[in-house]
């Protein structure tokens, strides 16, 4: 399958994602330039981490208006798979592909550390290779990763099973200690209603090679490969669209 990784001005994990896909996963990875509306017939789009547009105004506020994003939004509305990581998650929320928003970490500090994230839903194209309840170690590095949404939205995404990853402590419980940034309900990653867009603050692309620490993130990429091969896009296109 072919993955497309977008580069915005200020993206810095685009090359890590391209590397992870091409070398750790072994699939085709193409770079998509923010000014270019052509998605090069990719099977999945990855919106990478970084500081697009310097995080000016709000993280992702301006990147969402890049020409490429119009194509990405169309792609997502038609059921295309989008993996939005960190700044990508922020961009996806700003673009209305996902509900809620990411704000400044509660303790105000930029955190660069391994996070323990529990897989809450394995019925998504991003987690079908995982086991429900398993805890993955995936690095986080962000200053604005606190996930918030109003009460009714939060209830809706919980009820719909849209929460895919939750921060947990060493004993696997979603406690305050296990929450690095104050995210409501310890939410680390979510999908939209039709489950074809994933937003997550942790960086699975930084956990794909045992040589560099661990490869827990590889499962997520393998899940997408599996989903693409079994026609996930067509299924998602028939579901209710929207965040």
């Amino acid at each position: 399958m072919r993955w497309g990784v977008v580069t915005f001005p200020g993206s810095n994990d685009d090359h890590d994602a391209l590397h992870a896909i091409a070398h750790a996963l072994g699939e085709e990875a193409v770079a998509l330039w923010h000014k270019d509306r052509d998605l090069k017939q990719v099977d999945a789009v990855l919106l990478p981490g970084g500081f697009s547009y310097g995080d000016y105004l709000r993280c992702g506020a301006m990147a969402r208006f890049s020409p490429v994003m119009a194509s990405v939004v169309d792609f997502a509305r038609a059921g295309g798979l989008v993996m939005a990581i960190c700044n990508g998650f922020q961009i996806a929320c700003e673009a209305g592909l996902l509900p809620g928003a990411l704000i400044r970490n509660r303790a105000l500090k930029f955190i660069c550390a391994d996070a323990q994230v529990r897989v809450e839903n394995v019925e998504t194209p991003f987690t079908n290779q995982c086991t429900k309840g398993e805890v993955l170690t995936i690095p986080i590095k962000h200053g604005e990763g606190c996930y918030v949404a109003d009460e009714s939205t939060l209830a809706e995404i919980e009820d719909n099973g849209q929460v895919v990853f939750r921060y947990v402590d060493a004993s696997g419980r979603a406690t305050a200690q296990g929450n690095p940034n104050g995210s409501l309900n310890n939410i680390a990653g979510i999908v939209n209603r039709s489950r074809n867009v994933l937003g997550m603050m942790p960086h699975p692309e930084h956990a794909t090679e045992r040589l560099l620490g661990n490869e827990d993130g590889l499962k997520l990429f393998r899940s997408v490969v599996d989903a693409v091969r079994s026609g996930a896009r067509e299924r998602a296109a028939s579901l209710v669209p929207g965040p």
Binding site: L57, A61, F65, E94, A101, I103, V148, G182
Partner: protein, 80 residues
Amino acid sequence: MRAHVYVTLKRGVLDPQGKAIEHSLHSLGFGEVEEVRLGKFVDLQLREGDRDAAGKRLEEMCRQLLANGVIEDYRYEIVG
């Protein structure tokens, strides 16, 4: 003409920066401060034109870019 836009966090959205500032003010002896919430001020210089039309377009600027409706409220005023 000049327009001022004020973007503020919605009530109920966590504001740790506001809290940090509140604590700093307390440390400086300003104990009367009960709450601080931090917002943004945007100063726009607009080409001269119809004020009503400008107001409608400012509304769009706020809605589309300057404020994130999920977490922020906005108000604007044309000042000159």
